[in-house]
Symmetry: C2
C-alpha cells in the first residue's frame, strides 16, 4: 500500500484528544465549543503542513486545496466531518477527513501533480446532536438549508442555531453565499465507517456504496377507548393496541412483500396509554421508519402504509392520526464515480462489498452539486457510542482505494 | 323504602373525614395509620349505638352481631372494608359496611328479630395499595393467607406486613385462629360500587352479581435481535415487536372466538427496547390479563395463549419467555343467596341488572366458608380515584334490596 497506516492512526488519535470531558467514555465534540474550535485549528495546521491552501466558506466549512495542472477545472473533493455525537468513537467522521489528508501526503511523497485540483473538506454540524438537524454544512453547500428554520432549532440551553451562527458572524448572507453551482465540484468522495454490520458479516474491510438510502418517517397516534379489562366484553372494545398490532404487522408485510427489494419498514417503538395490565389500551403511539434506496419504491410503500392506517382505523372504529416527520429522497452514487471506485478497488486488490448506505451522510447533499461516491470502512461496535471501533489496517485499505479512485478521477 | 337515604349519606360523609391529608383530592386511609385506627373506633361506636355486640377476630376484622331468635344458628353476614387506596372516593368499600349498619337500624326501627343472628363485618386490608396484597383480612377468614408470605410483602418504607402485624400483636397464631369453619357463617352478602360502567350503560341503579371473575395474568418477554432499521433486510430480522404484535392479535382472537362467552383477554401494556425509531426492536415486554367467570373456559384460554407463545417463538425464531403472575379461580355466587337477592329485588321493585363482577372482592374469599352473594351499586367516574361517585339514592336502593334479601335469608 502507498498510504501509511501509521500516519492515519496517529492523526485519528491526535484528533481524538479534542473532546469535552466525558469521564473517559468516548469523545464529545459539539459545534461552537472550545474543543470544536481547537480541533478546527488543528486540522487547518495539518492541512497547511501538507502544503494545502486553506480557505473556509460562508458557513465555516474548511477546505484544503492542492492545485492541479489545470487550476481552471472543477476539483475532485474528498470530505467528511469532525464534529461528533456525545460519547462518540474516534472514526465517525474524522476518518474521512484524515483519509483525504493522507491521499494528499501520498501524492506529495510520490511527487504527483494531478490534472484537476484536489480539495479536502470538513463540513460543519453533520451530527444532529446539538441542534436536532444533521448535515448543516453540506446542506448549505447544496443550497437546501432554510435560514428561517435555523431560528426554530435550539440546543439544550435554548440557544437557536441561527443565534449561534450570528455570534460567529454567520448571517443569512453568508449562508446563501455558501451555495455552490452544480458542476463547480467535479466529483466528491466520502469515506466513512459503515454504521451497521454488513461488512463484518461479509468478512470484507471495505464497502463501495451504490446509493444512500433515505427515510420516510411517521408518528402515528391510535386513539381507541380505555376501559376496564375485566368488565368490557371483547365485542365492545376499541383497543388501541390491537389496532396498533395490525399496523405493525401490516408494515412488516408491505416492506417485505409488497414494495421494492431494498425496502425496509420498522416500527421501532410503541407507547401505550394508560399502560396498565387491567385497562384496555386507549391510546398507542407508534414510531415508524421506512427506508429505501429507490424513491419510487419508497413512495409506493408509503402510500400503502397510509392506506393501511385508514383501513385499520375504519375496520376497528379507532382514530389513526399520523404525522409524516421525514420524507427524504434516496441518492444514488454517480455511475462515473462509483465506476472509478470499483476499478480502483480491483486495481489495488482490496476485498470489498458493493452495498448501499443505510445511514445518511454529507455525501447525499454534495450529490446536488458534484458527482458523488462513498467508501465504507468495516466498523465494530456500532457507531455513535464509545465502543465504535475500526481496525487501522481497514482504514488504511479504504484509504488506498480512495487514493486510487482519486487518481483516476483527477488525472 | 324502609332504609334511610339520609342516614346512609350521613354515615358515608362522616367516615370520609378519617383520611390522611391528601390536599383535598379524595380520601386516603391505609392500614395501621392513625386515620385507619380512628375510623375503626368510629365504626365500633356506630355499631354499638345500633345495639350491636362488637368483637374482633385474630387479624383484626371487626364484627357487630345482632342476636337472632336462634343464637345457635350460623349467622347471616353483611360485610365490606373501610380501608382505601390513595386519593380514593368515599364509597369503595365503606358503602357495604354502612349498608349492613343501616339494615340493622331498620330492623331495630321495625322491631324485627330474625331467626338467625345477623353480623356486620369490616375486613382489614382489602386494598393492595400499602403492601401489594389484596383481601388480607378475608383471606385469613378463609384460611388461605400464607403467613410466611407476609414477610416478603413490604410497604414503601420497607416494613413487612408480618412486622406491621407483629407490632399490633398479630402473630402466626392469631392469623391461624382467624380461620372460620365452612358453614360457620350461613350466608355472606357484600354490597359494593360497580367498578365499571355496565350499570350506567344499562340505566339501572342496582346489579345482582352471578359470579366474581378471576384473572390469569402473564408477563411475557419477547427477545429478538436489535439491529439497524435501515441496514437490516426484512428477511434477516428478529423483530421482537412484530412477534409481540402477533401475540397481541392472537390473544384478542382467542378471547373473542376460541374460548368461553365471558372470556376477556387484554394486553394492557407493551414496552419496547431499545425503543428508538431507527432500531429494529430487540425486546418487547407484554402485560397480559385474562379473565373469566368460568374456570374451565379460563384454563382453556390460558392453554391456547401458552401455545400461541410457543408457535410465535418458533415461527419467528425469537425467545418468548413468560411468567404466570396470577392464576385465580372464578367464584360463582351461591344459587340460594343469589336467588334470595333476585327475589328481594323483584319484591321491592327496584330496577336491576343481573351481571358478573369483573373485579375481585372480599366476597370471593368469604365464599370459602359461607354461601355468597353480591349487590352492586351504579357508580360514576370509575373507582380508585377521587371522581368515584354514586348517587345516595342508588346506594339506598341497593341497601333496600340488601335488607329484603337479609330478611329472606335470616327468617
Amino acid at each position: 500500500m502507498r498510504v501509511s497506516k501509521q500516519r492515519i492512526e496517529e492523526d485519528l488519535k491526535y484528533l481524538a484528544q479534542f473532546s469535552a470531558d466525558t469521564g473517559g467514555k468516548g469523545i464529545t465534540r459539539l459545534p461552537f465549543t472550545p474543543e470544536d474550535r481547537a480541533c478546527r485549528e488543528a486540522i487547518i495546521k495539518k492541512f497547511k503542513a501538507a502544503g494545502l491552501h486553506v480557505y473556509t466558506d460562508g458557513i465555516g466549512n474548511i477546505y484544503g486545496r492542492r492545485e492541479g495542472k489545470r487550476p481552471d477545472l472543477p476539483p475532485v473533493m474528498i470530505g467528511s466531518h469532525l464534529d461528533t455525537v456525545i460519547n462518540a468513537g474516534i472514526f465517525d467522521g474524522p476518518a474521512g477527513v484524515v483519509a483525504g489528508l493522507e491521499v494528499v501526503r501520498v501524492l506529495n511523497d510520490l511527487s504527483i501533480q494531478t490534472e484537476r485540483p484536489l480539495e479536502v473538506a470538513n463540513f460543519v454540524i453533520e451530527e444532529s446532536t446539538a441542534f436536532g438537524k444533521s448535515c448543516v454544512g453540506s446542506r448549505a453547500v447544496a443550497g437546501v438549508l432554510d435560514y428561517d428554520e435555523l431560528a426554530r432549532l435550539k440546543d439544550k440551553n435554548g440557544r437557536s442555531l441561527q443565534d449561534a451562527f450570528k455570534e460567529h458572524g454567520v448571517t443569512k448572507k453568508e449562508i446563501e453565499a455558501t451555495r455552490r453551482e452544480k458542476g463547480s465540484i467535479d466529483s466528491y468522495i466520502e469515506m466513512h465507517i459503515e454504521q451497521s454490520d454488513n461488512l463484518i458479516k461479509a468478512g470484507k474491510p471495505v464497502g463501495l456504496v451504490t446509493a444512500i438510502a433515505a427515510a420516510t418517517r411517521f408518528q402515528v397516534t391510535v386513539k381507541g377507548q380505555a376501559s376496564h379489562s375485566g368488565a368490557t366484553p371483547m365485542g365492545e372494545r376499541k383497543d388501541a393496541l390491537c389496532a396498533a398490532a395490525e399496523i405493525i404487522l401490516g408494515i412488516e408485510k408491505i416492506a417485505a412483500a409488497e414494495a421494492g427489494n431494498e425496502t425496509v419498514g420498522t416500527v421501532g417503538n410503541v407507547t401505550v396509554k394508560p399502560g396498565a395490565i387491567n385497562v384496555v389500551p386507549g391510546e398507542a403511539v407508534l414510531a415508524i421508519d421506512l427506508r429505501d434506496i429507490d424513491k419510487a419504491d419508497k413512495d409506493k410503500a408509503a402510500e400503502k402504509i397510509i392506506a393501511l392506517f385508514e383501513s385499520v382505523g375504519k375496520e376497528r372504529e379507532v382514530q389513526v392520526e399520523y404525522l409524516i416527520t421525514a420524507s427524504d429522497t434516496p441518492v444514488p452514487a454517480s455511475p462515473r464515480v462509483l465506476g472509478a471506485i470499483k476499478n480502483a478497488a480491483r486495481e489495488v486488490d482490496i476485498p470489498h462489498l458493493v452495498m448501499h448506505s443505510a445511514a445518511a451522510h454529507d455525501a447525499a447533499y454534495l450529490a446536488e452539486v458534484a458527482d458523488m461516491g462513498m467508501i465504507f470502512i468495516r466498523s465494530y461496535g456500532g457507531s455513535h457510542n464509545p465502543d465504535e471501533w475500526a481496525e487501522f489496517e481497514d482504514v488504511a485499505m479504504a484509504t488506498e482505494v480512495l487514493l486510487e479512485a482519486t487518481l483516476r478521477l483527477s488525472s
